[in-house]
Amino acid sequence: MLCSIQSYAMRDTRSEIRPKLGIRLWLCGGWLFCLVLGALFAPWISPQDPLAQDLFAARLPPFWVAGSEPGFWLGTDSLGRDVLSRMLHGARLALIVAFIAGTLTCLIGSTLGIFAGYYQGWADRVISRFIDIWMAFPPVLFAILLIAVIGTGMTSIIIAIIIIDWTRFTRVVRAETMSQSVMDYIASAQVAGRGKFSTMVSEILPNLLPTIVVLLSLEMGIAVIVEAILSFVNLSISTDSPTWGGMIAEGRISIHQAWWVLVFPLIALFLTVLSFSQFGEGLKDRFDPVLR
């Protein structure tokens, strides 16, 4: 899973001719902002009840296709539930998981990484050993297994994401910390009389922040995907609650009869993951003093 996003370390070295325009930041930020609004106000702006079934209105096509009905803008699924309303409600779970799981994973993983990289010694050896073990697990299977064990529900999804993904932060932050630790400005802080912990916080951390912000934003996208995958294999939350992954699973089955059930959640997922992954990079390009 997500092998694409696993390789953070090299993103820094991206070619120097990348577009410096802020447009990327605006596009990604814009989509995420709309999504947050949609999720927040889902109960008020949804045209239909996302759970209401109507077998007489099953598999209605989206509004521009002949045979559609007003009020069901993006069509209905095989049980007659409105696709748009379900997507808006699905966005709530996706975003809550993204923000909470992303942030917690980032905090836990980065903390372990900076301690391991800066203090080294036995703490580093233990943490590195755990990373080695974690790297030997197939992450999707690991996540599915965890959910099966600790039960479905939003908290479980968040816990599962933290457990499978802390190593992503730890690995990158540890390596980056180690390369910063040998710089002379660390020696200089020591010459000035700064303590070890204080040096870590006030000298090293600011130099890690751009990397951490990019990773955090990536992780939020990954959390959205993990949630979708878990819903896809019917292991996220109660089965009739609207989730993007659940809609995709259903759309996959009825793909030849009602393509729109798959296409719209898929587009939403695509844009969200892409936006999250580019948003952090955009922030870094815009605000990192060394690049600016």
Binding site: L2, M10, S15, R129, I133, L141, A148, V149, I255
Partner: protein
Amino acid sequence: MLSRILFTRLLSTAVTLMGVAVIVFVIIRVVPGNPIAMMLPPGATDADIERLKAFYGFDKSILEQFIVWLANVLQGDFGNSISLRQPVSSLVLGRLPATLELSIFALLMAVLIGGGLALIGTRSRGTATEAAIDVTNGMALSIPDFLWGLFFILMFGVLLPIFHISGRISPSLNLDFSTNFYLVESLLRLRFDIFMDLIGHMFMPALALAIPLAAIIAQLLKQSLKESMNLDYVTLARTKGYSEYQVIIKEALPNAVLPTLTLVGVQFTFLIGGTVIIERLFSYEGLGNMAIDAVINRDLPLIQGIVILFAALFTVINLVVDMMYVVLNPKLRHA
């Protein structure tokens, strides 16, 4: 030196695998939904439950269970699957070839696409071609294999149905193969009809797995090729009458391949991890698909077997890559 590194790495691999075994065992034994309860026929008595528990060894302490299980595993006995009622080892080994063929096919695709893009990008550095490659790479990197799979199902399953999007082989084909390495065996037996059918099924899931890795290879290899092109010894070669193409291939590439190789090793394990969901998506009868069924059915022995097999595969791949790195790097070889 080489043997010392090999020994250290083997030792560390063993420790890692042991860690995996412990963690899998612990996770599974704290499962709250009692697996026995799920297997019972209606109207079973308490005595039946106790008998089943004793049969599967669930009545002993966790530590005891672990030692018994580990001793069996070391003899190649992973127990019997609860849901399929067959030995785990034969079930797992029966599915492994399908997953291996898919993963290696995807890896080859990724190396060809990514390597090709990197070479083109390096030759045309500083031009619009390079910029286009960079932008495409960035997009391809951001989208995980799961979404690529769904995208291909829509594009090539519904809009332009030119590839199969379900299964490993057409059911109408009469198979009398002696191994489960269908792709390899069909080639050896010169059954090109079967070979093409297998490729037709494999192409979409493999491409979904390959695209993110191809983008990573293209990006990293291009980056290190460009850095290598600025190295003094490459510059020196350029003054000696070689053509640009010769300089890239013969001087810059061997140097640039080394960092890429390490990365491809790790990324290959991620790719194999990705087969779990991709196989599910394309109903491909491999290990991953079986693993998800096993989790849904709470088939503990089978889950353990599959996870341990994946972990063993990953650590072996990492070990091989490490060794290749040492062999290809004269500084380590002759230190």
